[in-house]
């Protein structure tokens, strides 16, 4: 087991318990590795690596939304790799890429390159949030952008506290779907 796997898995376990700093550090490190992975993959199949940033953000969002599917008894790297690869194949299918070009890769490839040269994605998440239904929009803005706690957000949006949580969860899923539609060429 590599030191990186051990470090990232520890961050993941803390993040599953609700530790925001660990979650941030995990997503930050993963986004850099994912950037290296996607740039390498897109280059290998002869596509423009400028699409990598969109894929990084899709995968980061997927890691966040689907983090409950990580089984703590298993290593983290294969789980991240499976998501990264799934999102790559899904992206190519949407963009009429040839799937036959995607070679089978080993799980550690997803962690192979550390690339922090982030660029802007082709879409603006804040603008996409404006397109969500009222409740989801208000809950996400209050909790995720303005940093209010759930009780304060509930008051501002006129929702119950569990309603705020449900709206954030559904809103992020809807956001992921909007991003997928936005990046279809």
């Amino acid at each position: 087991m590599t030191p990186l796997e051990i470090e990232l898995k520890a961050l993941m376990l803390a993040s599953l318990k609700g530790d925001a700093a660990s979650h941030r550090s995990l997503l930050d490190q993963l986004s850099r590795r994912l950037r290296g992975y996607y740039k390498a993959k897109l280059a290998a199949i002869g596509r423009d690596t400028s699409e990598a940033e969109d894929l990084v953000q899709e995968a980061v969002l997927a890691v966040h939304i689907k983090r409950h599917t990580y089984d703590p008894r298993e290593p983290l790297t294969p789980w991240v790799h499976a998501i990264a690869r799934y999102k790559l194949i899904d992206f190519l299918r949407r963009n009429r890429g040839s799937l036959a070009d995607v070679p089978i890769d080993a799980a550690d490839e997803v962690m192979a390159d550390d690339d922090h040269a982030g660029t802007e994605s082709t879409y603006d998440v804040r603008r996409l949030i404006e397109r969500l239904p009222e409740g989801m929009q208000c809950a996400i803005k209050a909790v995720k952008l303005d940093g209010l706690n759930v009780a304060e957000a509930a008051r501002r949006c006129g929702l119950s506290e569990s309603g705020v949580k449900v709206n954030i969860h559904r809103g992020l899923k809807a956001l992921a779907a909007l991003i997928a539609r936005e990046t279809r060429t």
Binding site: A20, L27, K66, P72, I83
Partner: protein, 213 residues
Amino acid sequence: MKTDDLVALLSTNVEPVDRNAVVRTLSIAIAAGTTVALGIAFAGLGFRADLATTRALAFLAIKLAFAIGVVGLALVYLTRLARPGGEQKISPFLVAVPFLVIVALAAVSLGAAPRAHWDRMIVGDEWLECLLSIPVIAIVPFAVSIWAVRKGAPTNLRRAGAFAGLIAGGASAIAYALHCTEDSLPFIAVWYGGTIVLCTLAGAALGPRLLRW
């Protein structure tokens, strides 16, 4: 938008996550799907009238053991397939065990019977009813299973769909067994086994469309 900004957004006010969510959602879904299937079989077909006789009970037990074995094994696999990369940790051949057992029992039972009885033992009177009932009753358990798998994150959609179909077929067979009066091992092997396989194939065909996320 910069990825750093997205990471900041996602890391603000992080909620703790229920790590058993995948297994629990699937288990509840399968239990609910089986209950609905039992209800549909009871309301639509009625349970067999001779349930008090030893012979009927013995065959009911065989049918249930087969169907419950299928559902139980398939559930173990589906909880893995509902997670990213889960398809890499399993070789799904263990689910064939209940099918192999029932086929072996059927072969033994055919071997012990005179050839003239074979048609009757395999085809019986209710083959058409069985062929139609199990897939139809399987629709609700299939829908609930797909809903539950969608709560996870399958990365092999065809295989996850196939296992959702397998579970639905098995749950439906549990329900149909309470109605079916055809008490012969070859009948169970061909018509129960065959219709469950049909449900599995349907699930594999529908999986990529229904499970995308």
